[in-house]
């Protein structure tokens, strides 16, 4: 074991205990090594990349978790507290306040979509799972729109949501898809509950949970059953002329787009095609296709509204306190089997369907 000291962006010194690489080797070299034919070398490099990122994630999220209190079931009369800000194409957050809870809709369609999307998200969590906002205790929901210029992204910064307008050539406005809004806010729910580390399999679970509830928010707001839903993430986000229907497909991972500028949707649907990479925090937006597809299989096998039984099982695992922050797909899968048995009936229809869904994507859940 080697101890070494580095600095965390020039602020406090950080002690790391990492064998071999010590955090000095630049990640792009580790990246190269991780693909090395020599298994010992590649495994060590991969472990270091995973460790470093996990350590950084832990540091980042610790402060947030200490503020978390156990959420009591929400009263049916709870209401959202939304505020929308206009970043004015700059990057200072949050920007100028342009709409607050209860105010009339204005001229800016982006502001109105963000406001409605926050409301739809609040609604699903409250009505389906009796959760009062992101933290379970009525956390105000803040969002900034028009972030930066031609910005091709939306993200959760730990406190609020941020939306870019897209470049207009490949991506349109990131508020244009309600599941994107639900996806970002669900990163907040995860942060206040299981706090899944944003790297490797736990990171892909973090991403998948956001896709699952993002899609459920869309289905709930449209009143769609599992059989009627499109199971797409970011439908409407690709600009006209881009060859694709969305950014991800839970129904058929890997088929959302195939375009000369964007490339092809890299998501696998099963463990057989799991992508081993250090990029994108260990492929968090890639391998999320596997648990995404398991959820789709479960929801369509059970039928009816996906947010009811399938969504309840996933929600119980996310918020139940047993899901470790460094959970693997198999850890998560086992907890869903237990949750299905506890919520419904041990060995019943739901448990059987959960087991079958995970088996179909190649994850050992028993």
């Amino acid at each position: 074991m080697v101890r070494c000291m580095t600095t965390n962006g020039g602020s406090e010194p950080v002690i790391r205990r990492t064998p071999v690489f010590c955090g000095i080797v630049p990640p792009h070299i580790l990246d190269h090594l991780a693909q090395h034919e020599d298994q010992t070398l590649s495994d060590a490099a991969l472990r270091t990349l995973q460790h470093d990122s996990a350590a950084r994630t832990r540091r980042r999220v610790t402060a947030v978790r200490t503020l978390t209190t156990a959420a009591a079931p929400a009263a049916a009369g709870s209401t959202p507290h939304r505020t929308i800000y206009d970043a004015g194409h700059r990057t200072d957050l949050p920007g100028t306040e342009v709409r607050q809870e209860g105010s009339e809709s204005g001229q800016d369609a982006t502001v109105n979509r963000a406001y409605a999307g926050l409301g739809a998200t609040f609604d699903l969590y409250l009505k389906a799972y009796q959760r009062d906002s992101i933290d379970g205790s009525g956390l105000p929901l803040n969002a900034s729109v028009h972030y930066d210029v031609n910005y091709d992204n939306a993200f959760w910064n730990g406190d609020q949501m941020v939306f870019g307008d897209g470049d207009g050539e490949i991506f349109t406005d990131f508020t244009s898809s309600v599941d994107v809004i639900g996806h970002e806010l669900t990163h907040g729910v995860t942060q206040y509950t299981a706090n899944l580390e944003y790297y490797g399999q736990s990171g892909a679970l973090n991403e998948s949970v956001s896709d699952v509830f993002g899609s459920l928010i869309k289905q709930y707001s449209l009143g769609q059953s599992a059989g009627d839903a499109d199971w797409l993430i970011g439908e409407g986000l690709l600009a006209p002329g881009v060859h694709g229907v969305a950014l991800r497909s839970m129904k058929a991972p890997g088929t959302a787009y195939d375009d000369t500028r964007l490339g092809k949707d890299p998501q696998p649907a099963t463990m057989q095609h799991y992508v081993k990479t250090s990029r994108d925090n260990g492929g968090v937006h890639i391998n999320s296709g596997i648990p995404n597809h398991a959820f789709y299989l479960l929801a369509t096998a059970l039928g009816g509204n996906a947010w009811e039984r399938a969504g309840q099982i996933w929600y119980d695992v996310l918020t139940g306190g047993e899901l470790r922050s460094d959970a693997t797909f198999a850890d998560f899968a086992k907890l869903t089997v237990a949750a299905a048995g506890a919520r419904y009936q041990a060995g019943g229809e739901e448990s059987e369907a959960v087991l079958k869904a995970w088996a179909q994507v190649g994850v050992q859940a028993a």
Binding site: P26, P27, T91, D152, N153, A154, F155, G158, V284
Partner: protein, 88 residues
């Protein structure tokens, strides 16, 4: 001077990279000054970032610095935006 930018992560999880070679360009001094300032405000290892945030790798003649949204310096933001727009 070769200036390379790689952007990873983001909601879409789609990687973008581009490169500008300043040799022979009339605005080379301006690019070089901007690149040096962007490198100086970067980190030696990738910073933590946020869920769905972009992560950036800036390489100038073999020297690499890392940055992540939303904590970019003005110089990094300008350089990244120009290289991804004008670079090949």
């Amino acid at each position: 001077m070769r200036i390379q930018v790689r952007r990873t992560g983001g909601f879409a999880g789609i990687e973008r990279r581009a490169e500008v070679d300043t040799s022979g360009r009339p605005d080379a001094p301006e690019w070089q000054a901007l690149a040096e300032r962007a490198l100086a405000t970067g980190r030696g290892t990738p910073p933590p970032g946020v869920p769905d945030g972009f992560a950036y790798e800036i390489t100038v003649d073999g020297r690499t610095a890392y940055a992540a949204d939303p904590q970019l310096s003005e110089e990094q933001r300008e350089l990244i935006s120009r290289v991804l727009k004008e670079g090949a």
